[in-house]
């Protein structure tokens, strides 16, 4: 018998039945899009197209079109790559780690978080493919036999580890996401009337029949995939951090980088999930499933991961001083007081100070405040990567090589373009996919639904 304590707040508000859940989740797919959706879609796709223009220009003339220069040879490209990969982390964390922790509240957000992960990985991939300068030769990233005309890649390089880590991560994320979608596609298949839609969703649902055996296999596979995906949550961003930490550049080479990057990734990922879900619950009227309690839980994750990141920042600062190594000390002094100190302080205030507002229950249960803060955090996390990369490269060991950095409008264009692409994909997804994992949600209705919880209390009193 499963028991749920009465002091736990309900995760589904109101008197919902299984049928209501189906109706509510299928509504955006069956119905017509409203004006707000078209406005958002237009903005997103125009931005996306601008990004494509800047991207094509880069392919045409080479990466000289960027602001990167002789000293600062890594700038916005790697910053954006790490930022997007980081955002992608929340999806796997929510779907895999929170599954292993049996957190029921994940069921309202896991589907969209996973979709977000996949789109974010696409955005990140653009920068990897593009920064090589000759994207038509990108197959050389893989260890192909020498007959293909390339030398074997350098297995000692964390950049190569990235290729493996990120492609594995993308594959497992997509499989995980798709497996979860099968019962939901089947529900849509059974509901829609238009023949073409019926046909499409019946192909997508792989002949799901909903028998006990199907469910048993489904759960087995989910658990196995969760077990596989959990180490991936750690490995991907750890390896991303090793791109920096294996080097002997002061400010980059520090042992705390792997776990600190993972925590930062989850932090920014949750912020992005909040940004998206606050919009989704409003546009598609899903307030009953994405409750204030869900937002509160996510905000608590944000406090925790943000504070872990804060502890890591302070650890780095302290150990730089404690080490007695002049180069280390200067790297951090330069970040905090050098010509790009503004970026450092944006990072500090957005990532370490701003989440502390969520200690107040009033603020962490306020939708408007959460929405604003979720964007503030993602700005902060972009600056974190910028601060690690650019000010460090501006001032390395040899003062005569010190220089500055300004991005070109192509840099900005590609970055903004990926944001456009991300939202374009997400908006399309939200009109064709079930945005909440309804099959999973139904499994907690009787234990965590508001009306059922009330009934249980009344039952206990009689």
């Amino acid at each position: 018998m499963h028991a749920e304590s009465q002091i736990r707040e309900p995760l589904i508000i109101g008197k919902k039945t299984y049928r209501d859940i189906s109706n509510d989740i299928i509504a955006p797919i069956e119905g017509k899009a409203n004006r707000l959706w078209y406005i958002l879609f237009t903005i997103a796709s125009i931005t996306f197209m601008w990004g494509i223009c800047c991207l094509s220009y880069t392919i045409g003339v080479g990466i000289g079109a960027w602001g990167s220069n002789n000293g600062v040879d890594w700038a916005w490209d790697i910053t954006n790559f790490v930022w997007w990969i980081g955002i992608g982390h929340a999806g796997t964390l929510i779907s895999a780690v929170l599954l292993l922790f049996r957190q029921k509240w994940r069921m309202a957000i896991n589907r969209s978080a996973e979709a977000m992960t996949i789109f974010a990985v696409f955005c990140a991939a653009i920068f990897v493919l593009l920064h090589t300068g000759r994207p038509w030769l990108d197959y050389m990233l893989f260890p192909l036999p020498n007959q293909f005309g390339s030398l074997w890649p350098n297995f000692n390089s964390p950049l190569l580890w990235d290729v493996f880590a990120v492609s594995t991560y993308a594959t497992v994320s997509i499989v995980f996401w798709y497996i979860g979608l099968i019962p939901d596609f089947a529900m849509i298949r059974d509901r829609v009337i238009k023949p073409r839609m019926k046909k499409t969703y019946s192909i997508l649902s792989f002949g799901w029949g909903g028998s006990a055996r199907h469910w048993s296999r489904f759960e087995e596979v989910s658990l196995v995939l969760a077990g596989l995906a959990t180490p991936l949550v750690f490995s991907v961003h750890s390896i991303v951090s090793m791109d920096f930490a294996t080097s002997v550049v002061p400010g980059w080479h520090t042992t705390i980088f792997p776990p600190y990057f993972v925590s930062g990734a989850v932090f920014s990922g949750f912020a992005m999930v909040l940004t998206l879900m606050i919009i989704v619950r409003k546009v598609y009227k899903l307030e009953a499933y994405l409750t204030i309690k869900h937002i509160e839980y996510m905000n608590i994750v944000i406090i925790v991961t943000g504070s872990i990141v804060g502890v890591a920042y302070l650890t780095e600062l302290f150990v730089a001083w404690y080490s007695g190594v002049e180069w280390e000390q200067y790297a951090f002094l330069n970040r905090a007081t050098g010509p790009m100190a503004w970026a450092y302080w944006i990072m500090m205030s957005c990532n370490v100070l701003s989440p502390q507002f969520f200690w107040f229950k009033k603020l962490r249960t306020s939708i408007a405040f959460t929405f604003v803060l979720s964007i503030v955090i993602n700005i902060g996390m972009w600056f974190e990567r910028f601060v690690i990369i650019v000010p460090t490269l501006c001032r390395t060991y040899l003062p005569s090589t010190w220089n500055s950095y300004t991005p070109s409008f192509i840099d900005v264009g590609i970055f903004v373009g990926t944001i456009g692409m991300f939202f374009t994909l997400f908006l399309l997804y939200s009109r064709t996919f079930p945005v909440i994992a309804q099959a999973e949600l139904k499994s907690i209705l009787k234990a965590s639904g508001e009306s059922y919880k009330k009934e249980a209390v009344e039952h206990a009193h009689h």
Partner: protein, 410 residues
């Protein structure tokens, strides 16, 4: 429910065992201080003996602290599954005052120059012209001395206070009615949130102060989290072994197999966390190979190679292979067996962390000295924890998540 099994009585055999362990350990510690000499090195003052006592003091204190952290984590995360084993965790936490007293004594003796575990405690270390002068330590001496002592006392006070209050609220809640008890529950939730914040900072800083400063020249940003993961997994192993043993004696009927399975998962998962942090620290230092950092692993590589690899494989491969399957986490013999091995593995981890910075190249491999000290502290720990366990009912009564835990089934 069998009511005479709700209060734990320390079995005389267990009491006897802990006494024998302490006695054997004490004799070996005394012998260790008599025999630990290096006639050709005038800087060596029974260093290995002192370092061993420090390892024993630290390791078991860390277990209690790890249990305290886990107790707080349960409240802060609104976790319900572990409610039935809360009293076991609480019993482990209250070794804290005993363990911290040992540590404090070690620190005081160090300050009195009885031992040389902490190089920065040496007289004249920051005074130019002194024969002990060390320029690198002198540059950071402001962090040590009085400031170090203030921090040390603050950590101890804070941990004791939080643990004491969490335990008190938990017991008080059971003296009241079901509804009134909720107030105590929420109090503990709030208290735990604060504890988590304090712990997040102090677990790292105390690891720098007490462990990293043994190798005073060396530095690693990971050290705090690395020590933390070790104490966490040791605490999970201890609690699991205790539960399995109590079940074996016929206690804890109300603890479901699923709860024990979950404890097995924690042992498994935190073993991976430890491995992850160990590997990250090692790999990054090995890869960059810069003189400021690599010295740390160089000493270990040269004089402690066997120990280093043993620690890594016992604490990583062993739990990974043995605890992967669901059945193994539900097999009590297996949990006991694997738990005992990785428990020793984590003790050796602390040995490996402490010895190279103190004993250095005088190390001759594990010996009766390490074993004897381990047995003494193990006996003491068992004695104190079982005594704590017998002072409170084994079952919680009023916890709002109790029904979830009683019906826990996965």
């Amino acid at each position: 429910m069998n009511t005479d099994k709700l209060n734990f009585v320390v079995p005389s055999k267990a009491k006897m065992t802990s006494m024998v362990l302490m006695a054997v350990g004490l004799v070996s510690i005394i012998c260790m201080f008599m025999f630990d000499k290096q006639p050709d090195d005038h800087h060596y003052h029974q260093t290995r003996a002192w370092a061993n006592v420090f390892v024993g003091s630290f390791f078991f204190t860390a277990i209690a602290l790890g249990a305290s952290f886990f107790l707080g984590l349960q409240y802060a995360a609104e976790a319900g599954w572990a409610t039935t084993i809360k009293r076991i965790i609480e019993a482990v936490t209250w070794y804290l005052p005993v363990g911290l007293s040992f540590l404090l004594l070690m620190f005081i003796l160090g300050q009195m120059h009885m031992h040389t575990i902490y190089p920065w405690m040496a007289e004249g270390i920051a005074t130019k012209g002194s024969e002990n002068y060390d320029a690198i330590i002198a540059a950071k001496i402001g962090y040590f001395g009085v400031f170090w002592w203030v921090r040390t006392l603050l950590y101890m006070a804070a941990w004791i206070m939080f643990t004491w209050k969490l335990r008190k609220n938990s017991l008080d809640a059971d003296q009241l009615g079901h509804e009134e008890a909720k107030g105590f529950h929420w109090k503990n939730v709030k208290l735990s949130a604060w504890f988590m914040v304090v712990f997040a900072v102090t677990s790292s800083t105390s690891a720098w102060d007490w462990i990293m400063s043994i190798d005073t020249h060396w530095f690693s940003t990971m050290m705090g989290w690395y020590i933390f993961s070790g104490m966490w997994v040791s605490a999970m192993i201890t609690v699991t072994i205790l539960i399995v043993w109590l079940k074996h004696l016929g206690y804890l009927e109300f603890v479901t197999e699923s709860t024990i399975h979950d404890m097995g998962k924690w042992m498994f998962a935190i073993s991976f966390l430890w491995t992850y942090l160990y590997f990250s620290q090692f790999m990054l230092i090995w890869y960059a190979d810069i003189p400021e950092e690599i010295t740390y692993f160089q000493t270990r590589w040269e004089s402690y190679k066997a120990l280093m690899w043993t620690v890594f494989f016992v604490n990583f491969a062993f739990p990974m292979l043995m605890l992967m399957s669901r059945d193994s986490k539900r097999n009590f013999f297996f949990l006991m067996f694997v738990g005992t091995i990785i428990f020793i593995g984590h003790y050796l981890d602390i040995v490996m962390v402490v010895m190279p910075g103190t004993v250095g190249h005088h190390w001759t491999g594990l010996s009766w000295m390490e074993l004897g000290t381990f047995l003494f502290f193990l006996g003491l720990f068992i004695y104190v924890v079982l005594n704590n366990l017998s002072k409170r009912p084994l079952a919680v009564k009023n916890h709002p998540f109790l029904s979830e835990s009683l019906h826990h089934s996965i």
